[in-house]
Amino acid sequence: MELICPAGTPAAFREAVDAGADAVYCGFRDETNARNFPGLNFSRDELKTAIAYARQRKVMTFVAINTFMRAGQEKLWHDAVDDAVRLGADALILADFGLMAYTAERHPEQRLHVSVQASASNADAVKFLVETFGAKRVVLPRILTIPDIARLARQISCEIEVFVFGGLCVMAEGRCSLSSYATGKSPNMHGVCSPASHVRYREDGSELVSELGDYTINRFPAGEAAGYPTLCKGRFDIAEERGYAFEDPVSLDVMDHIDALRDAGVGALKIEGRQRGKAYVAEVVSIMRRAVAANADERPALLSRLRRLSEGQKTTSGAYEKRWR
């Protein structure tokens, strides 16, 4: 199975390549990708250098242009596609139908992957994208169980890539306006979720309070591991109950299910985390590389080390296991 690894900077890109990635995915330094965070991502020149570095080592580069074209600003997205093709991207990861149509028409030879943000969660949806835009691979939303994936794989003709480690979207990806409701900045239009520009941490007595815009997202008592104030991982009150209404501050880890995913027909395992540092990328990629090759009984020892790096220092199998629902 291919290992698809994140890079938010050229330094992280090189770490991912050196640590054993089969492909590295990255984006341009603007709103055309879903990790449009300050100080992150690639200029055209940086991407060119990165692709050359990867190619020398027989590693592929995927370019994520996976936000939705803002009406009136389509040129930004069109340029991103044209430039990524020109610079030799091995695949473009797209979510917007209009942009997929543009790519399929202007660059018919370009390999097109369906981003998780497109929310193609069933066979008919995938067929629609394969038939209409010639998509070669679909990144499945993190809302399917492994049996769901196996059933889906039997019904479609394109490759399947799934997220196995890193940040976890609790909501169906590409269909969430929670962030823009609280901050005005939208994952789909601006490539940000719970943006740092609207995040504030403050001490209240012994508690660490995290806020997003005008809303308190969490309060961490002294000694408790903190989390980023991502809306869907906040602590809220519902009726008389206080708790994590949607999900704890955990991250996704389905490495225990690698064999089941392979048997289900998954061809590529994706690591989330373009916003994480190069130290994280290097460590995660190298451990995952070994874990994919290892026997099932050797994996736990390899993977326990990863969990220290996780958000809230806890992990979940998420929707891949039915009981998560």
Binding site: E224, A226, A279
Partner: protein, 168 residues
């Protein structure tokens, strides 16, 4: 954990002007070795960043667009848009991109107040820079470079491994 005495002692006994002079030399060296450091900051380059080691009696103020660093004795720290606090060894390890900022932050070994976006931009810019403090410092140390480099690297390794032990 506590810092090796060799690292903290100068900050306790040396006059502020001496510390500041040394810090500026190191800062200038880092900026010279990594001219692209502040490119990634974009609009955030005009902001003021404070770094406050919890285990030292001083704090550092960085003004990227002016290529300036200044040292201030606690509690007389100037106003900054974004402030990061934590043990010196952690701040240095972050500077070098040796540890993952998110992981350290989630474990609450690090505090960030003020402009999160600016601090995130700086974190990401630093992460792309491959700063290697012992090597950078050594470049300005003339004939004693290998010695200084080895000493700095050793201190870093010892401090980091002890810190890592406290996380697990």
């Amino acid at each position: 954990m506590t810092l090796p005495f060799a690292m903290t002692a100068p900050f306790r006994i040396a006059p502020l002007s001496v510390i500041e002079h040394a810090t500026r030399l190191v800062f200038a060296q880092v900026v010279q070795q990594h001219p692209d450091l502040f490119d990634r900051l974009g609009e955030h380059a005009d902001k003021r960043y404070a770094f406050v080691p919890t285990d030292l009696p001083v704090g550092f103020l960085v003004e990227p667009s002016a290529r300036r660093i200044s040292v201030h004795r606690k509690p007389h720290l100037p106003v900054a848009q974004a402030c990061m606090g934590g043990k010196l060894v952690l701040l240095l390890a972050l500077l070098e991109g040796q540890i993952d900022g998110d992981a350290v932050f989630f474990s609450r070994s690090l505090t960030i107040t003020g402009d999160m976006e600016a601090m995130l931009a700086l974190r990401n810019a630093l992460d792309d820079c491959n700063i290697d403090l012992p090597a950078d410092i050594a470049r300005m140390s003339g004939p004693f470079a290998p010695l200084v480099r080895r000493a700095a690297a050793e201190i870093r390794t010892r401090a980091l491994s002890r810190e890592a032990a406290t996380w697990n």
